[in-house]
């Protein structure tokens, strides 16, 4: 809470147009998150409807997905979001070094998640429904993780050259929020794919 108040105070240095621009970007990212999560909800519903056509899920004769690696990957992804958040808080306090170290952790954990899920994607037994819907959902999420991960990487590179400070760091905030989106979308998929 202290950090938020500090942020508001710091942003008083911005011009009126800059403040409106920041406000607009924040609103846009929030609306985008609410909107785009619906695609993931849609694919989750698709999964649930398809499985309702089978007496058991996975269908008879198809091996169930192993949960161990995906669970580890999920924990890693959650930790990466926490690291991104810590990085964002650091830059808000003008601590560029701490921002970079936290951001590195976020990137590394995110990369580990993507690699583990690529392995899972390749290893799954392909059948007309169980394996296919798994592959579609994981690939769809993976594309988002890669694109947003790339954005985070670019933010990191700009951060290396000292491109952000406590007042002007929208790219950090935007990238972190998009990464939260990746996490929330994956948690939804994780529940549908591995828990239900």
């Amino acid at each position: 809470m202290t950090t938020v108040v500090k942020q508001d105070v710091l942003e008083q240095e911005l011009t009126r147009d800059e403040l409106i621009a920041i406000k607009n970007k924040r609103t846009a990212v929030t609306v985008f998150q609410i909107s785009w999560i619906m695609v993931f909800v849609c694919l989750s519903i698709v999964n649930l409807q398809i499985r309702s056509n089978f007496p058991t899920w996975p269908p008879p004769g198809v091996a169930a997905l192993d949960r161990v690696l995906p669970t580890l990957a999920t924990i890693g992804l959650i930790l990466s979001a926490l690291a991104a958040r810590a990085g964002l808080q650091a830059i808000r306090l003008d601590e560029a070094g701490r921002f970079l170290s936290r951001w590195r952790v976020a990137l590394a954990l995110g990369a580990a998640f993507v690699l583990l899920m690529i392995y899972e994607w390749l290893a799954v037994e392909v059948d007309p429904q169980y394996g296919t819907i798994f592959r579609v959902m994981v690939a769809y999420h993976g594309i988002h993780a890669l694109v947003i991960g790339y954005i985070m990487l670019r933010v990191y590179r700009t951060g290396l050259s000292g491109g952000y400070d406590s007042v002007r760091h929208w790219p950090v905030e935007g990238a972190a929020k998009l990464w939260y989106f990746v996490v929330v979308a994956w948690l939804l998929f994780y529940v549908v794919l591995y828990v239900l």
Partner: protein, 573 residues
């Protein structure tokens, strides 16, 4: 009969503000240019979709197949007609009105994200071309609803282009809607709370909420459809454990709300037209505003009424109830509009006539919607011409009439010139009558059992089909009255002046057309955008006139002198 205001004879459109065609053919981040780009693009696709409709009606003049080479060609015709009219005409046209008017109504200099705005528009022409290109590779032929297995197993590659095209259009729509929401939330001027916003802005807000929540479902469904067609998956193939109803569920979860995406902006336009041209405050402002949100919300709970014939019986009743409930907020609007014009000093301008035309025809579409919500009746007329009639009463009688009304109303603002009122009235009456005789008899054909989407039909339906086709040809021709009027306006239309209708919303508080930055300084909105008939409104309008120059009445009756004046307030304020 109230005073009709009209442009000041001899006045000129401000130099430097004349419309230049080249400006509209290139990338621009000016919301006004983008708005016009949306509208012109949509009108081009309207002509294409209309031409396809004429071919459909030409084929249906006789009960046998005689214009089309085969049934496939006919299937392609109505598939692309429906898709073009929905996704490339009505939705982009409404987005055009939104883009042009929203920042002006909010007193802003532009949308929140001008570049994104341009990007969203420039996705539309290639998407439209992609869809039309389908004719070179075997056009989509599964209807605009594209149910599998027709769309997965029996259509040519045009079906894939169709899905890709819709994907792009959907993304464009989402980006546009995000921009609208942000603009409305963050860029209102001081003194304009949510409940001081023009109702058109409320309508765009509700529409945008639907778009951002529902369109991703279309994206999901289209992704699966494309994968089934090109990647060998079998999500919609029951032989391999897939489910054809899966498409219907997901598609209608988007496409029923999409009806409101097309109609809600029309509601917004109508609210503006009725109040301005009846010179009366809007009746039930909050009820109209909040009912838009209610429609947006309930619109998500009705999708399965499109699937009554395939739905498990225990689910039919809940969806019947929700489908009927949505008539309540719609009814609130209709009664509010009637309350608005009741006792008003109605000016029967072309814009107002189309507004009243909307009101009458949309009510018919609404009532048949309630009829279709009833399970027994729905099953009786399922997939018949009754459904075709209903959806055209909603989308043409509603949306297109609103678009026409909006064009007559805001054309002076966009171009700085008036449309010819006599031609406008001719356009209205020819459209109104031919529309009615095109689509109303379809109710009868449907109830008598004529199925939709057929090129060959039972001979006993020929008479009714001849009536429908002839009326539809007149309806098609009526469109060209509007185009002629537009051309005439460009060539020698009378100069409009800044506020020819003496309206109170902010888009009229600047010159016509507005300058690139919209307003000189920060405009101050009038406290009530529909506060017609009061002394303060009169004073506000007089102030505008002294600032921006006159939009004086011609020929009919000069406005009464400035205040102090006796009550009641005269027309024109």
């Amino acid at each position: 009969m109230a005073t009709v205001t009209a442009p000041l004879p001899g006045a000129r459109v401000a130099e430097g503000r004349r419309l230049r065609v080249s400006e509209y053919l290139r990338w621009s981040v000016d919301h006004k240019v983008i708005g016009v780009q949306y509208m012109v693009t949509a009108l081009v696709f309207f002509i294409i979709g209309g031409a396809l409709a004429m071919l459909i009606r030409w084929e249906l003049l006789t009960p046998t197949l005689d214009v089309m080479a085969d049934g496939t060609a006919y299937n392609q015709l109505f598939s692309i007609h429906g898709t073009v009219m929905i996704f490339l005409w009505i939705i982009p046209m409404m987005a055009g009105f939104g883009n042009y008017l929203l920042p002006l109504m909010l007193g802003a200099k532009d949308m929140a994200f001008p570049w994104l705005n341009a990007f969203a528009f420039w996705m539309i022409p290639p998407a439209g071309i992609l869809m039309i290109l389908g004719w070179f590779v075997g056009q989509a032929e599964a209807g605009w609803t594209s149910y599998p297995p027709l769309s997965t197993m029996f259509s040519g590659d045009g079906q894939t282009l169709w899905a890709m095209s819709l994907h792009i259009l959907g993304l464009s729509s989402i980006l546009g809607a995000i921009n609208f929401i942000v603009t409305i939330k963050n860029m209102r001027p001081q003194g304009m709370g949510y409940f001081q916003m023009p109702l058109f802005v409320w309508a765009i807000l509700a529409t945008s909420i639907i778009i951002v929540m529902a369109t991703p479902f279309l994206a999901g469904a289209l992704t699966l459809l494309i994968l089934d067609r090109v990647a060998g998956t079998a999500f919609f193939n029951p032989v391999q454990g897939g489910d054809v109803l899966l498409w219907q569920n997901v598609f209608w979860f988007y496409s029923h709300p999409a009806v409101y995406i097309m109609v809600l902006p029309g509601f917004g336009i109508l609210s503006e037209l009725l109040s301005v041209h009846a010179r009366k405050p809007i009746f039930g402002y909050r009820a109209i505003a909040l009912s838009s949100l209610a429609i947006a919300l309930v619109g998500f709970l009705v999708w399965a009424h499109h699937m009554f014939t395939s739905l498990t019986p225990e689910l039919r009743i809940p969806f019947m109830i929700t489908s009927m409930i949505i008539a309540v907020p719609t009814g609130i609007k209709v009664f509010s509009w009637l309350g608005t014009i009741w006792g008003g000093k109605i000016r029967f301008t072309s814009a107002m006539l189309f507004g009243l035309g909307f009101l009458s025809m949309f009510v018919i579409g609404g009532i048949t919607g309630v009829m279709l919500a009833a399970v027994p009746f729905n099953i009786h007329v399922h997939d018949t011409y009754f459904v075709v009639s209903h959806l055209h009463f909603v989308l043409f009688g509603g949306s297109v009439f609103a678009i026409y009304g909006g064009l007559y109303h805001w054309w002076p603002k966009i171009t700085g010139r008036m449309l010819d009122e006599r031609l406008g009235k001719l356009h209205f009456w020819v459209t109104y009558v031919s529309f009615f005789f095109t689509f109303f008899p379809m109710h009868l054909a449907g109830m008598l059992g004529m199925p939709r989407r057929v090129a060959v039909y039972a001979p006993e339906f020929q008479t009714i089909n001849i009536i429908i086709s002839i009326a539809s040809f007149v309806l098609g021709i009526s469109t060209f009255i509007l185009f002629y009027n537009m051309a005439l306006s460009f060539a020698r239309g009378r100069v409009a002046g800044p506020n020819p209708w003496r309206a109170l919303t902010l888009e009229w508080a600047t010159s016509s057309p507005p300058p690139s930055h919209n307003f000189e300084g920060d405009p101050i909105p009038y406290k009530n955008p529909y506060g017609y008939g009061t002394e303060s409104a009169w004073a506000y309008l007089e102030g505008l006139e002294s600032k921006f120059g006159p939009s004086a009445p011609t020929g009919i009756k000069r406005l009464p002198p400035a205040p102090p004046r006796p009550q009641p307030a005269p027309s024109g304020d």
